[in-house]
Symmetry: C2
Subunit: 251 residues, 2 copies
């Protein structure tokens, strides 16, 4: 992934041609996969995907099985199915001729951030952005996700967990790229302990950027929360993704 530089000449009547250089953004370019949260859909990310495309990345958004048009099937869909969706979406993204398969970012929200973390163990990911990442116990993996006991889940998320007892945290502990970890200040579903479980898990990460989005709920209902999320994501992407391309920090 680099800039294409080639020298050229500009013809001038009656005198020597001028020496010149064209510098162009060259393909392949970084690819960014967006994974929405449980009960959400790809519309959550479209605006941000558009902005990141404007920064020279190729973005892919998609609806998980059992969502949006297929909401009726939601009560049957399992985590295993949705992780398979994420794998297939990833494969679709890297099959695009513009994309550099060595430069893939995955941006997930809540359940999508959980899937993104699991995906990092199955596919090659360089940058991982996790907004209010959810955490689930490993067992009942093939049970419909909607049928997981919510009371047990709430208790589970209040507890300290490590790579020893959680597959997503294990995946995190193996991840060697850059991590953006975003916490919603007023999040009734993802307590601080869950955020810290994730943060502590990424011991091999090249960088860890943990930020709180103030006055935000889990779904970023407020416009300001959405705006602040976008700003944090763009800044990080500029530093990590376009920064990797230009070799310069642009802040």
């Amino acid at each position: 992934m680099s800039i294409h530089v080639f020298s050229t000449r500009i013809q001038v009547p009656d005198t020597s041609p001028l020496q010149a250089h064209f510098l162009s953004p060259s393909a392949p370019i970084p690819g960014i996969l967006f994974i929405h949260g449980w009960g959400g859909d790809q519309r959550f990310d479209l605006k941000r995907a558009q902005t990141l495309a404007g920064l020279g990345c190729l973005c892919l958004t998609f609806d998980l099985t059992g969502h949006h048009e297929h909401e009726a099937e939601r009560d049957q869909v399992t985590r295993a199915q949705n992780l398979r969706d994420a794998c297939l979406a990833y494969d679709k993204l890297i099959s695009h001729p513009l994309v550099d398969p060595q430069s893939i970012a995955v941006v997930g929200h809540s359940y999508g951030a959980y899937l993104a973390t699991l995906l990092s163990q199955l596919r090659d990911i360089r940058w991982l952005s996790l907004l209010a990442p959810a955490l689930y116990q490993d067992d009942e993996w093939l049970k419909p996700k909607d049928q997981l006991n919510r009371t047990l889940l709430a208790t589970y998320r209040q507890q300290a967990h490590t790579k020893e007892d959680n597959q997503a945290l294990l995946a995190g502990s193996l991840f060697k790229g850059d991590v953006l970890l975003l916490e919603a200040e007023h999040d009734p579903y993802i307590p601080k302990q869950t955020i810290l479980n994730y943060r502590n898990a990424f011991t091999e990460a090249k960088s860890m950027t943990h930020r709180i989005i103030y006055e935000a709920d889990h779904a970023l209902t407020q416009k300001t929360a959405q705006y602040n999320y976008s700003t944090l994501l763009y800044r990080w992407a500029q530093e990590m993704i376009t920064g990797a391309r230009t070799g310069l920090l642009l802040t």
Copy 2:
């Protein structure tokens, strides 16, 4: 100039395909022409051109007639010749198939900034970045630039001038795009009055961003001055050029 959005499907075994969207930076892209100062050459701008290419722009740098390899001819070259060079370089840039001719920025330093301003009257320019722009009286246009009387020139630059008596300021007064005007704090060649003559001239500009580069001399000899120049230029380019592409302010 926009983002290319197209919907697609991800095939999933035994169930409905997933709805998805690719969002890609689409050609044409903005073009940026760099014009170096008197006695300089394109190497002054190569690093910045590379960075701006990384932000998704196609950049062109070049050596003016009488410079670099053709330094021997410098004492004979006229402003008319160098302005013609700038026109030809502009034409080379917009002839590139990737470039959107409606989205051209010109980045000039000193004499190159003077030429860039004059060029804006002859060619379609949307963004104009002027670093320590030099100013010259209109007469003796066809006299070798090197033979202009330096004492008279120094006096001329200390005086208030307007579009009524200066062709570059007239070009400025007609310019309808965005202007970045950068002043070197310790500039023995370009006094404050010359900067103000430029600033006052751009009455029709869509925006004016005037900044001082502190502790900088005219040629930005110090590394810090170069770094600060680059930072100001990138921020402005992000707001104006990639901002125009994404429709969002990325600060």
